[in-house]
Symmetry: C2
Subunit: 187 residues, 2 copies
């Protein structure tokens, strides 16, 4: 344990850079969006300013939204649900692109310490948003601004430019035992 | 997409049970504890009552603690760091066991909707806590109470009794590029 402490301490000493991190949370397991919202809480705890944009989810009655809106977090709900919900591709594209214009304002504001782009992977996967534009806007953001992107199937190009990528594997899910989404846990 | 909607809707209709879920977030990737704290925020958004116990982390200046304490969340910091920090095994065992007694009070209180046991896997792995006792206490909790357990290397016996298990793989981490833990993102 004495030796282990020396090794760990040396690793911590070597990491000394402060800068904005691009974090991608992908995979099929539960916990991606929740994780982003935990970081929103952490930011607020340090007196820093987070902002959130939720793609896809059209609903406006989630616990996270109710809670963080009250705490003064700028919060955009940009989606109208998945295409198989709206059954209208042209509208989905228009909704996503109008949404991205609002996100660009976050990504140009150095007063915002963290931008959460919840479920951004879906409009990218379906081609509703142009990946090259999104990557350019991420790259041009203020140097100290953190960005967290969630959703299944993150594109390889996005993971390439990310600083940190976690892939959540779904080893087990209560849903498959018939338990529906639970208030406070899943929504 | 019409067909896809039918399949998804059928799956959602089949899941109809409401009950307390035991969720385990494990693996080496970033985002496990953050995810638990996101669910704390969701709970508060629905007017429900979460409680948190953090094992191992001895520090008391994290963003999550500052933020959620102010929101009235019962919050225990039970650890004094990893053993290679304290260099005192007997004290680590005593700290963990004294902490578990406090957690038992949460696990017997039906007014608490969510109990977060952050980094519980470490005292289990090091044998500071008895796994059988922990599993018994989890099983005996109020039927509608959710529990989220985080930490690397969750024991197989714990995953066996869990309802949902996500394993976070560390595909990439900013730390390895020299970026140290960032306020609001990592702590």
């Amino acid at each position: 344990m004495v030796r282990k402490k020396a090794v760990v301490d040396a690793g911590i000493a070597a990491a000394s850079i402060d800068r904005g991190v691009l974090l991608v949370l992908t995979g099929n397991g539960k916990g991606k969006s929740s994780s982003a919202f935990g970081m929103v809480a952490r930011m607020l705890g340090h007196g820093l300013k987070p902002a959130v944009a939720q793609f896809i989810k059209g609903r406006s009655d989630t616990g996270e939204e109710a809670f963080f809106r009250k705490a003064g977090v700028p919060w955009l709900v940009l989606g109208e649900g998945f295409t198989w919900e709206t059954q209208n591709l042209a509208r989905d594209i228009e909704t996503a692109q109008r949404g991205w214009t609002q996100v660009q304002a976050f990504l140009r504001d150095p007063a915002i310490s963290l931008v959460v782009l919840d479920e951004l992977t879906y409009p990218l996967k379906y081609g509703w948003l142009d990946l090259a534009t999104v990557l350019d806007d991420l790259e041009a953001r203020p140097p100290m601004q953190h960005v967290v992107i969630t959703g299944r199937g993150a594109p390889a190009e996005l993971c390439d430019v990310a600083d940190t990528v976690s892939e959540l594997a779904d080893l087990k899910h209560a849903y498959r035992a018939g338990v529906r989404a639970q208030k406070g846990l899943d929504l």
